[in-house]
């Protein structure tokens, strides 16, 4: 943590970056995002087990972008998000400094994208362990049970779109839900429309989800909607042997193909 603060200070003092995106402790002790522009305030930065939010979501927000060149405290999911955002041309590698932190909280030396790529490649890119267990449980259920499960969960959805706001890859300036010609997703919240929204969201993240679980954490009514995108992340790996966010040149699974892609259901 001290290393992190020292490095942040140095970056701000030498005007290498204008803002540090990181975590600070809120009044109740809960970690919250911090946008530090003053080197004197760098001491506020923390990094510990409380810091779980995927900060990469701020990289595409105009309010943060307008602050200038940034450095970001980056856990593995943040790094993978950054890779995705670069590959989808939303941010430029030159405009960002990555303050990588390992799972034990130590500061990593991420000199450039290549180093970051090497770090990502040797990491476990599967879904988080506790989510893996949940997925296994759900996949054990019968089709009808799963249908009932999701209906029950999705009936709680209030269409607040916090899942979308929290996701670093839901950066569209206009979302499909805001299209009314035609009205793809009903405006009101009801179980059926909610389900359509969550299918849409999961499909739009197929091959792009980097398994940070932020959508699930952001949901105010506790829908485990992250399991939908994580299930697809698993399937993407099963079918196409790739994990999202592993290189800046990554091409998206759904916008590329191999002639011999295997499936067993098309007759």
């Amino acid at each position: 943590m001290n290393n992190l603060i020292a490095r942040a200070k140095e970056l701000l003092e030498n005007k290498i970056v204008q803002v540090i995106v990181g975590y600070e402790a809120g009044p109740t002790g809960v970690a919250r995002p911090a946008f530090i522009t003053n080197p004197a305030k760098a001491d506020l930065l923390i990094y510990d087990e409380r810091c779980v939010q995927n900060l990469a979501v701020y990289l595409t927000k105009p309010e943060v972008r307008n602050l200038g060149k940034m450095a970001i405290v980056a856990t593995l999911p943040v790094m993978r998000s950054i890779m995705m955002l670069i590959s989808e041309q939303q941010i430029f590698a030159d405009n960002i400094i990555v303050l990588g932190v390992s799972s034990d909280g130590s500061l990593l030396d991420i000199a450039d994208i290549k180093v970051m790529q090497a770090y990502i490649e040797k990491s476990d890119l599967g879904n988080p362990v506790k989510d893996r267990a949940l997925l296994v449980e759900l996949n054990k259920l019968s089709k009808e049970e799963r249908f009932a499960y999701w209906q029950k969960e999705l009936s709680k959805c209030i269409k607040c779109y916090a899942c979308r706001q929290a996701c670093p890859l839901c950066y569209c300036t206009r979302c499909t839900v805001e299209v009314n010609q035609p009205q793809w997703i009903p405006v009101q919240s009801n179980t059926h429309g909610n389900m359509e929204w969550h299918i849409l969201r999961a499909m739009h993240l197929a091959g792009r989800c980097i398994s940070c679980g932020e959508c699930g954490r952001a949901c105010p009514v506790g829908i485990p909607c992250h399991l939908l995108t994580m299930q697809l992340a698993d399937e993407v790996h099963n079918y196409f042997k790739v994990y999202a966010g592993t290189s800046e040149k990554m091409s998206s699974v759904l916008s590329t193909f191999e002639p011999n892609d295997k499936e067993s259901f098309i007759i």
């Binding site: 209906q151 059926h192 359509e196 098309i266």
Partner: protein, 150 residues
Amino acid sequence: MSDFEPKVVAFVCNWCTYAGADLTGTSRIKYASNVKIIRFPCTGRIDFMLLLKAFANGADGIIVSGCHPNDCHYTSGNFHAKRRWIMFKELMDFMGVDMNRITFSWVSAAEGAKWADVVNTTVTRLREMGPYVSYRDLVNKSVEEEVKNE
């Protein structure tokens, strides 16, 4: 259930399956009249949301069909579609939506007989499965939810 006739919508590409279904016609091969075709330029054009809309509007089953791999009029639309359907199918399975109600197939412009076969087997299967009650219930219940909210 014997008098149940499923409603089936077919999403097909113009160059292979639409032409293949034309050939079924010119060959006078008979098939179940439950299916109604919507023409697309290419399977690559078929948005997965349209399939959901078909179920939402009361379809009991869906057929999606296009050119065989390597035969796409646009060289690669069907390959992209294939990946899209792989993901869609896995997601639907995971959410408990009955994928037996959707038939994915490759029917070329020369496969008039195959088209009839695809339709007939799909319709036969759907007749056995019965109306898609659970999805319809979901839609109806949702309408009620809204009424209640208002």
